[in-house]
Protein backbone atom coordinates (compact mmCIF):
# COMPACT_ATOMS: atom_id res chain seq x y z
CA UNK A 1 0.00 0.00 0.00
CA UNK A 2 1.22 3.45 -0.83
CA UNK A 3 1.65 5.68 2.17
CA UNK A 4 4.04 8.30 3.44
CA UNK A 5 4.72 9.76 6.83
CA UNK A 6 5.21 13.49 6.92
CA UNK A 7 6.06 15.61 9.89
CA UNK A 8 4.50 19.04 9.85
CA UNK A 9 5.28 21.40 12.72
CA UNK A 10 6.46 18.54 14.88
CA UNK A 11 3.36 16.51 14.26
CA UNK A 12 3.36 13.23 12.41
CA UNK A 13 0.85 12.90 9.61
CA UNK A 14 0.20 9.60 7.87
CA UNK A 15 -0.71 10.20 4.28
CA UNK A 16 -2.53 7.46 2.37
CA UNK A 17 -2.95 7.18 -1.37
CA UNK A 18 -5.24 5.55 -3.89
CA UNK A 19 -7.98 3.06 -3.14
CA UNK A 20 -8.20 1.33 0.20
CA UNK A 21 -9.92 -1.93 -0.64
CA UNK A 22 -9.72 -5.64 0.13
CA UNK A 23 -6.30 -5.83 -1.52
CA UNK A 24 -4.57 -3.15 0.51
CA UNK A 25 -6.47 -3.10 3.79
CA UNK A 26 -4.41 -5.97 5.28
CA UNK A 27 -1.28 -3.83 4.74
CA UNK A 28 -3.00 -0.84 6.28
CA UNK A 29 -3.96 -3.03 9.22
CA UNK A 30 -0.35 -4.06 9.79
CA UNK A 31 0.73 -0.44 9.68
CA UNK A 32 -1.97 0.73 12.06
CA UNK A 33 -1.46 -2.09 14.55
CA UNK A 34 2.19 -1.08 14.77
CA UNK A 35 1.23 2.57 15.21
CA UNK A 36 -1.19 1.73 17.99
CA UNK A 37 1.61 0.28 20.05
CA UNK A 38 3.16 3.69 20.60
CA UNK A 39 0.44 5.65 22.28
CA UNK A 40 -0.12 9.20 21.17
CA UNK A 41 -2.70 11.77 22.13
CA UNK A 42 -3.73 12.07 18.54
CA UNK A 43 -3.22 10.47 15.18
CA UNK A 44 -3.63 12.43 11.98
CA UNK A 45 -4.46 10.74 8.68
CA UNK A 46 -4.26 12.66 5.46
CA UNK A 47 -6.83 11.10 3.14
CA UNK A 48 -6.96 13.74 0.43
CA UNK A 49 -5.43 11.39 -2.14
CA UNK A 50 -7.71 8.51 -1.21
CA UNK A 51 -10.30 8.06 -3.93
CA UNK A 52 -12.21 5.17 -2.39
CA UNK A 53 -12.37 3.17 0.81
CA UNK A 54 -14.30 -0.05 1.17
CA UNK A 55 -15.78 -1.73 4.24
CA UNK A 56 -12.57 -3.58 5.01
CA UNK A 57 -10.77 -0.23 5.10
CA UNK A 58 -13.43 1.24 7.37
CA UNK A 59 -13.24 -1.81 9.62
CA UNK A 60 -9.47 -1.42 9.80
CA UNK A 61 -9.86 2.13 11.05
CA UNK A 62 -12.53 1.04 13.52
CA UNK A 63 -10.15 -1.59 14.84
CA UNK A 64 -7.47 1.09 15.17
CA UNK A 65 -9.96 3.14 17.18
CA UNK A 66 -10.55 0.15 19.46
CA UNK A 67 -6.82 -0.34 19.94
CA UNK A 68 -6.22 3.30 20.86
CA UNK A 69 -9.38 3.84 22.86
CA UNK A 70 -7.78 3.06 26.21
CA UNK A 71 -5.29 5.85 25.71
CA UNK A 72 -8.08 8.21 24.78
CA UNK A 73 -6.34 9.05 21.54
CA UNK A 74 -8.07 11.28 19.06
CA UNK A 75 -8.08 10.16 15.48
CA UNK A 76 -8.26 12.95 12.94
CA UNK A 77 -9.10 12.36 9.31
CA UNK A 78 -8.13 15.23 7.06
CA UNK A 79 -9.10 16.25 3.56
CA UNK A 80 -11.62 13.55 2.74
CA UNK A 81 -13.20 13.65 -0.68
CA UNK A 82 -17.02 13.96 -0.47
CA UNK A 83 -17.49 10.40 -1.71
CA UNK A 84 -15.04 8.97 0.83
CA UNK A 85 -16.65 11.01 3.57
CA UNK A 86 -20.07 9.64 2.59
CA UNK A 87 -18.74 6.12 2.99
CA UNK A 88 -17.71 6.91 6.56
CA UNK A 89 -20.97 8.64 7.30
CA UNK A 90 -23.14 5.87 5.91
CA UNK A 91 -22.15 3.65 8.83
CA UNK A 92 -22.10 6.61 11.24
CA UNK A 93 -18.34 6.64 11.78
CA UNK A 94 -18.27 10.45 11.97
CA UNK A 95 -18.99 9.86 15.64
CA UNK A 96 -15.70 8.00 16.13
CA UNK A 97 -13.31 10.11 14.11
CA UNK A 98 -12.76 13.82 13.88
CA UNK A 99 -13.06 15.02 10.30
CA UNK A 100 -11.07 18.05 9.20
CA UNK A 101 -11.16 19.85 5.89
CA UNK A 102 -7.40 19.76 5.40
CA UNK A 103 -4.20 18.73 7.13
CA UNK A 104 -3.42 22.27 8.31
CA UNK A 105 -6.81 22.35 9.93
CA UNK A 106 -6.13 19.08 11.70
CA UNK A 107 -2.74 20.25 12.92
CA UNK A 108 -4.23 23.40 14.22
CA UNK A 109 -6.86 21.41 16.02
CA UNK A 110 -4.28 19.39 17.89
CA UNK A 111 -2.26 22.52 18.55
CA UNK A 112 0.96 21.49 16.90
CA UNK A 113 1.56 24.07 14.22
CA UNK A 114 3.83 27.00 14.97
CA UNK A 115 2.01 29.73 16.86
CA UNK A 116 -1.27 27.92 17.11
CA UNK A 117 -3.09 28.07 20.36
CA UNK A 118 -1.91 25.44 22.79
CA UNK A 119 -5.18 24.98 24.52
CA UNK A 120 -6.88 24.02 21.29
CA UNK A 121 -5.90 20.54 22.45
CA UNK A 122 -8.96 20.72 24.61
CA UNK A 123 -11.24 21.56 21.76
CA UNK A 124 -10.01 18.50 19.90
CA UNK A 125 -10.57 16.25 22.88
CA UNK A 126 -13.90 14.95 23.93
Amino acid sequence: MKHSIETLGGIEVLKLHGEIDLKVSPDLRGLLTKKAQTPQDYFIFDLQDVSYIDSSGLATFVEFFQLTREKNSNILMAGLKPRVRSIFELVRLEELFIFCDCVADAIEKVGGAAGSVLNSMDSAGD
Binding site: S55, S56, E63, S86
Partner: protein
Amino acid sequence: MTLDSDSSKSALHDRESKDVVIEVKDLVVRFGDRTILDGINFKVHKGDTMIIMGGSGCGKSTLLRQLIGSTVPDSGEIRLYGFDITRMSEKELDPLRKRFGMLFQSGALLQSLTIGENISLPLLENSKVDPAIVDLIVKMKLELVGLTGFENLKPAEISGGMKKRVALARALALDPDLLFSDEPTAGLDPVMTAVVDKLTCDLTRKLGMTAVVVTHDMTSAFRIGTYMIMLGSGPHQGKIIAEGTPEEIKKNPDPMLRQFINGEADGPIPLKLSQDDYFKHLLGSG
Protein backbone atom coordinates in the same frame (compact mmCIF):
# COMPACT_ATOMS: atom_id res chain seq x y z
CA MET B 1 -19.64 -4.66 -32.03
CA THR B 2 -16.59 -5.48 -30.01
CA LEU B 3 -15.87 -4.13 -26.60
CA ASP B 4 -12.82 -2.13 -27.68
CA SER B 5 -14.41 -0.18 -30.49
CA ASP B 6 -17.39 0.42 -28.26
CA SER B 7 -15.45 1.99 -25.45
CA SER B 8 -13.04 4.00 -27.58
CA LYS B 9 -15.84 5.50 -29.61
CA SER B 10 -17.83 6.38 -26.54
CA ALA B 11 -14.86 7.94 -24.81
CA LEU B 12 -14.64 10.40 -27.66
CA HIS B 13 -18.21 11.10 -28.54
CA ASP B 14 -20.94 9.67 -26.49
CA ARG B 15 -20.68 10.27 -22.77
CA GLU B 16 -23.77 8.21 -22.23
CA SER B 17 -22.44 4.91 -23.42
CA LYS B 18 -19.11 5.36 -21.68
CA ASP B 19 -20.58 4.32 -18.39
CA VAL B 20 -22.81 1.52 -19.57
CA VAL B 21 -22.75 -1.15 -16.88
CA ILE B 22 -25.40 -3.45 -18.30
CA GLU B 23 -26.46 -3.78 -21.88
CA VAL B 24 -29.22 -6.14 -22.92
CA LYS B 25 -29.73 -6.82 -26.60
CA ASP B 26 -32.66 -8.70 -28.17
CA LEU B 27 -33.05 -10.99 -25.19
CA VAL B 28 -35.41 -13.90 -25.77
CA VAL B 29 -36.31 -16.51 -23.17
CA ARG B 30 -38.77 -19.35 -23.66
CA PHE B 31 -40.04 -21.97 -21.24
CA GLY B 32 -41.25 -24.76 -23.47
CA ASP B 33 -43.51 -23.07 -26.02
CA ARG B 34 -44.26 -20.09 -23.75
CA THR B 35 -42.26 -17.02 -24.59
CA ILE B 36 -41.37 -15.25 -21.34
CA LEU B 37 -39.11 -12.51 -22.65
CA ASP B 38 -39.42 -11.44 -26.24
CA GLY B 39 -36.73 -9.16 -27.60
CA ILE B 40 -35.78 -7.07 -24.58
CA ASN B 41 -33.36 -4.19 -25.13
CA PHE B 42 -32.08 -1.75 -22.56
CA LYS B 43 -28.98 -0.19 -21.07
CA VAL B 44 -28.15 0.64 -17.49
CA HIS B 45 -25.64 3.41 -16.86
CA LYS B 46 -23.31 3.76 -13.94
CA GLY B 47 -25.02 5.28 -10.90
CA ASP B 48 -28.48 4.61 -12.30
CA THR B 49 -31.25 2.92 -10.42
CA MET B 50 -33.14 0.95 -13.01
CA ILE B 51 -36.62 -0.10 -11.97
CA ILE B 52 -38.18 -3.11 -13.65
CA MET B 53 -41.96 -3.11 -13.24
CA GLY B 54 -44.71 -5.35 -14.48
CA GLY B 55 -47.50 -7.60 -13.31
CA SER B 56 -46.98 -10.98 -11.71
CA GLY B 57 -45.70 -13.55 -14.13
CA CYS B 58 -44.57 -11.03 -16.72
CA GLY B 59 -40.99 -12.24 -16.49
CA LYS B 60 -39.39 -9.69 -14.17
CA SER B 61 -37.67 -12.27 -12.01
CA THR B 62 -36.72 -14.27 -15.09
CA LEU B 63 -35.09 -11.17 -16.51
CA LEU B 64 -33.18 -10.61 -13.28
CA ARG B 65 -32.00 -14.24 -13.30
CA GLN B 66 -30.67 -13.69 -16.80
CA LEU B 67 -28.79 -10.59 -15.74
CA ILE B 68 -26.96 -12.39 -12.94
CA GLY B 69 -25.99 -15.27 -15.21
CA SER B 70 -28.05 -17.90 -13.40
CA THR B 71 -29.76 -19.12 -16.52
CA VAL B 72 -28.88 -18.92 -20.19
CA PRO B 73 -31.25 -17.15 -22.61
CA ASP B 74 -32.54 -18.70 -25.83
CA SER B 75 -31.06 -15.86 -27.80
CA GLY B 76 -29.73 -12.37 -27.35
CA GLU B 77 -26.85 -10.80 -25.52
CA ILE B 78 -26.31 -9.55 -21.99
CA ARG B 79 -23.21 -7.49 -21.37
CA LEU B 80 -22.07 -6.79 -17.83
CA TYR B 81 -19.19 -4.33 -17.76
CA GLY B 82 -18.80 -5.13 -21.45
CA PHE B 83 -18.54 -8.91 -21.03
CA ASP B 84 -21.18 -11.03 -22.71
CA ILE B 85 -22.22 -13.25 -19.82
CA THR B 86 -24.42 -15.48 -21.95
CA ARG B 87 -21.31 -16.99 -23.46
CA MET B 88 -19.29 -17.33 -20.27
CA SER B 89 -18.61 -20.47 -18.24
CA GLU B 90 -19.24 -20.66 -14.50
CA LYS B 91 -15.53 -20.21 -13.90
CA GLU B 92 -15.30 -17.12 -16.09
CA LEU B 93 -18.36 -15.66 -14.40
CA ASP B 94 -16.95 -15.83 -10.87
CA PRO B 95 -14.72 -12.72 -11.05
CA LEU B 96 -17.75 -10.77 -12.32
CA ARG B 97 -19.97 -12.21 -9.60
CA LYS B 98 -17.65 -10.85 -6.94
CA ARG B 99 -18.38 -7.36 -8.29
CA PHE B 100 -22.14 -7.48 -7.95
CA GLY B 101 -24.56 -8.27 -5.16
CA MET B 102 -27.91 -9.97 -5.50
CA LEU B 103 -30.87 -9.73 -3.17
CA PHE B 104 -33.19 -12.66 -3.79
CA GLN B 105 -36.94 -12.33 -3.46
CA SER B 106 -37.00 -14.90 -0.68
CA GLY B 107 -33.79 -13.60 0.85
CA ALA B 108 -32.16 -17.00 0.28
CA LEU B 109 -30.25 -16.88 3.55
CA LEU B 110 -28.49 -20.07 4.53
CA GLN B 111 -30.72 -21.49 7.26
CA SER B 112 -27.93 -23.44 8.91
CA LEU B 113 -25.82 -20.33 9.54
CA THR B 114 -26.43 -17.40 11.87
CA ILE B 115 -27.20 -13.97 10.47
CA GLY B 116 -23.64 -12.85 11.13
CA GLU B 117 -22.22 -15.92 9.40
CA ASN B 118 -24.50 -15.35 6.44
CA ILE B 119 -23.17 -11.83 5.95
CA SER B 120 -19.55 -12.82 6.50
CA LEU B 121 -19.81 -15.74 4.08
CA PRO B 122 -18.87 -13.88 0.87
CA LEU B 123 -16.04 -12.12 2.71
CA LEU B 124 -14.55 -15.27 4.20
CA GLU B 125 -14.94 -17.30 1.01
CA ASN B 126 -13.84 -14.69 -1.50
CA SER B 127 -11.25 -12.59 0.26
CA LYS B 128 -8.33 -13.02 2.59
CA VAL B 129 -9.50 -10.48 5.12
CA ASP B 130 -8.78 -11.27 8.76
CA PRO B 131 -11.78 -12.67 10.71
CA ALA B 132 -11.54 -9.79 13.22
CA ILE B 133 -12.01 -7.30 10.39
CA VAL B 134 -14.81 -9.41 8.90
CA ASP B 135 -16.55 -9.25 12.26
CA LEU B 136 -16.46 -5.45 12.21
CA ILE B 137 -17.68 -5.35 8.62
CA VAL B 138 -20.63 -7.58 9.56
CA LYS B 139 -21.57 -5.19 12.37
CA MET B 140 -21.37 -2.18 10.07
CA LYS B 141 -23.48 -3.89 7.40
CA LEU B 142 -26.12 -4.80 9.98
CA GLU B 143 -26.20 -1.16 11.09
CA LEU B 144 -26.79 -0.15 7.46
CA VAL B 145 -30.01 -2.15 7.37
CA GLY B 146 -31.05 -1.26 10.91
CA LEU B 147 -30.40 -4.65 12.51
CA THR B 148 -27.52 -3.93 14.88
CA GLY B 149 -27.12 -6.68 17.46
CA PHE B 150 -28.89 -9.44 15.55
CA GLU B 151 -25.80 -11.28 14.33
CA ASN B 152 -26.18 -14.35 16.53
CA LEU B 153 -29.74 -15.24 15.61
CA LYS B 154 -30.63 -17.84 13.01
CA PRO B 155 -32.74 -16.84 9.97
CA ALA B 156 -35.59 -18.99 11.31
CA GLU B 157 -35.79 -16.79 14.40
CA ILE B 158 -36.47 -13.50 12.63
CA SER B 159 -39.37 -12.12 10.59
CA GLY B 160 -39.66 -12.09 6.83
CA GLY B 161 -38.92 -8.39 6.56
CA MET B 162 -35.82 -8.78 8.72
CA LYS B 163 -34.62 -11.65 6.54
CA LYS B 164 -34.96 -9.38 3.54
CA ARG B 165 -32.78 -6.77 5.22
CA VAL B 166 -30.19 -9.35 6.28
CA ALA B 167 -30.12 -10.55 2.70
CA LEU B 168 -29.54 -6.97 1.58
CA ALA B 169 -26.69 -6.66 4.07
CA ARG B 170 -25.20 -9.86 2.66
CA ALA B 171 -25.58 -8.61 -0.90
CA LEU B 172 -23.64 -5.50 0.13
CA ALA B 173 -20.96 -7.40 2.06
CA LEU B 174 -18.31 -7.10 -0.65
CA ASP B 175 -19.19 -3.46 -1.42
CA PRO B 176 -20.47 -4.28 -4.88
CA ASP B 177 -20.62 -1.57 -7.50
CA LEU B 178 -23.74 -3.18 -8.93
CA LEU B 179 -26.72 -4.41 -6.93
CA PHE B 180 -29.61 -6.49 -8.20
CA SER B 181 -32.64 -6.66 -5.98
CA ASP B 182 -35.80 -8.66 -6.41
CA GLU B 183 -38.62 -6.97 -4.50
CA PRO B 184 -36.38 -5.39 -1.84
CA THR B 185 -39.26 -3.80 0.04
CA ALA B 186 -41.84 -6.61 -0.11
CA GLY B 187 -42.79 -7.55 3.43
CA LEU B 188 -41.28 -4.44 4.99
CA ASP B 189 -43.29 -1.93 6.98
CA PRO B 190 -43.45 1.66 5.61
CA VAL B 191 -40.69 2.89 7.92
CA MET B 192 -38.31 0.10 6.96
CA THR B 193 -39.23 0.57 3.30
CA ALA B 194 -38.11 4.17 3.68
CA VAL B 195 -34.87 3.04 5.39
CA VAL B 196 -34.07 0.60 2.60
CA ASP B 197 -34.98 3.17 -0.07
CA LYS B 198 -32.77 5.77 1.57
CA LEU B 199 -29.94 3.27 1.72
CA THR B 200 -30.34 2.51 -1.98
CA CYS B 201 -30.37 6.23 -2.77
CA ASP B 202 -27.29 6.90 -0.61
CA LEU B 203 -25.39 4.06 -2.23
CA THR B 204 -26.28 5.06 -5.76
CA ARG B 205 -26.30 8.87 -5.53
CA LYS B 206 -23.40 9.36 -3.13
CA LEU B 207 -21.16 6.35 -3.82
CA GLY B 208 -21.98 5.77 -7.46
CA MET B 209 -23.31 2.25 -7.11
CA THR B 210 -25.59 1.00 -9.89
CA ALA B 211 -28.82 -0.73 -8.98
CA VAL B 212 -31.35 -2.83 -10.83
CA VAL B 213 -34.53 -3.21 -8.81
CA VAL B 214 -37.55 -5.34 -9.56
CA THR B 215 -40.48 -3.98 -7.64
CA HIS B 216 -44.22 -3.75 -7.34
CA ASP B 217 -44.05 -0.95 -4.84
CA MET B 218 -44.76 2.19 -6.85
CA THR B 219 -44.02 4.64 -4.03
CA SER B 220 -40.62 3.09 -3.55
CA ALA B 221 -40.04 2.86 -7.32
CA PHE B 222 -40.59 6.59 -7.85
CA ARG B 223 -38.51 7.38 -4.78
CA ILE B 224 -35.37 5.50 -5.84
CA GLY B 225 -35.66 5.06 -9.60
CA THR B 226 -33.75 7.08 -12.16
CA TYR B 227 -34.98 5.03 -15.09
CA MET B 228 -37.91 2.66 -15.36
CA ILE B 229 -39.05 -0.05 -17.70
CA MET B 230 -42.39 -1.77 -17.67
CA LEU B 231 -42.81 -5.30 -18.96
CA GLY B 232 -46.14 -6.18 -20.51
CA SER B 233 -48.33 -9.18 -19.93
CA GLY B 234 -51.06 -10.87 -21.94
CA PRO B 235 -50.61 -10.07 -25.64
CA HIS B 236 -47.62 -7.91 -24.79
CA GLN B 237 -45.96 -10.68 -22.80
CA GLY B 238 -42.20 -10.32 -22.67
CA LYS B 239 -42.02 -6.90 -24.32
CA ILE B 240 -41.13 -3.56 -22.84
CA ILE B 241 -44.33 -1.53 -23.12
CA ALA B 242 -43.04 1.67 -21.56
CA GLU B 243 -39.73 3.10 -20.47
CA GLY B 244 -38.26 6.38 -19.35
CA THR B 245 -37.28 8.50 -16.40
CA PRO B 246 -39.76 8.63 -13.50
CA GLU B 247 -41.07 11.97 -14.81
CA GLU B 248 -41.63 10.54 -18.29
CA ILE B 249 -43.33 7.50 -16.81
CA LYS B 250 -45.62 9.70 -14.72
CA LYS B 251 -46.66 11.60 -17.85
CA ASN B 252 -46.93 8.54 -20.09
CA PRO B 253 -50.58 8.15 -21.12
CA ASP B 254 -50.35 4.43 -21.93
CA PRO B 255 -53.49 2.95 -20.33
CA MET B 256 -51.76 -0.24 -19.20
CA LEU B 257 -49.03 1.73 -17.50
CA ARG B 258 -51.57 4.04 -15.88
CA GLN B 259 -53.55 1.10 -14.57
CA PHE B 260 -50.43 -0.47 -13.09
CA ILE B 261 -49.13 2.69 -11.46
CA ASN B 262 -52.48 3.68 -10.02
CA GLY B 263 -53.26 0.14 -8.96
CA GLU B 264 -56.71 -0.18 -10.56
CA ALA B 265 -58.43 -3.55 -10.65
CA ASP B 266 -60.02 -3.12 -14.04
CA GLY B 267 -58.39 -1.73 -17.12
CA PRO B 268 -56.53 -2.99 -20.13
CA ILE B 269 -54.34 -5.39 -18.18
CA PRO B 270 -55.82 -8.69 -17.14
CA LEU B 271 -59.51 -8.75 -16.30
CA LYS B 272 -61.28 -7.77 -19.50
CA LEU B 273 -58.88 -9.60 -21.74
CA SER B 274 -59.44 -12.88 -20.03
CA GLN B 275 -63.21 -12.54 -19.68
CA ASP B 276 -64.07 -14.18 -22.98
CA ASP B 277 -61.65 -16.95 -22.22
CA TYR B 278 -63.25 -17.30 -18.81
CA PHE B 279 -66.72 -18.05 -20.18
CA LYS B 280 -65.29 -20.34 -22.79
CA HIS B 281 -63.45 -22.17 -20.06
CA LEU B 282 -66.33 -22.12 -17.60
CA LEU B 283 -68.97 -23.36 -20.01
CA GLY B 284 -66.76 -25.75 -21.89
CA SER B 285 -65.36 -25.03 -25.31
CA GLY B 286 -68.05 -26.78 -27.35
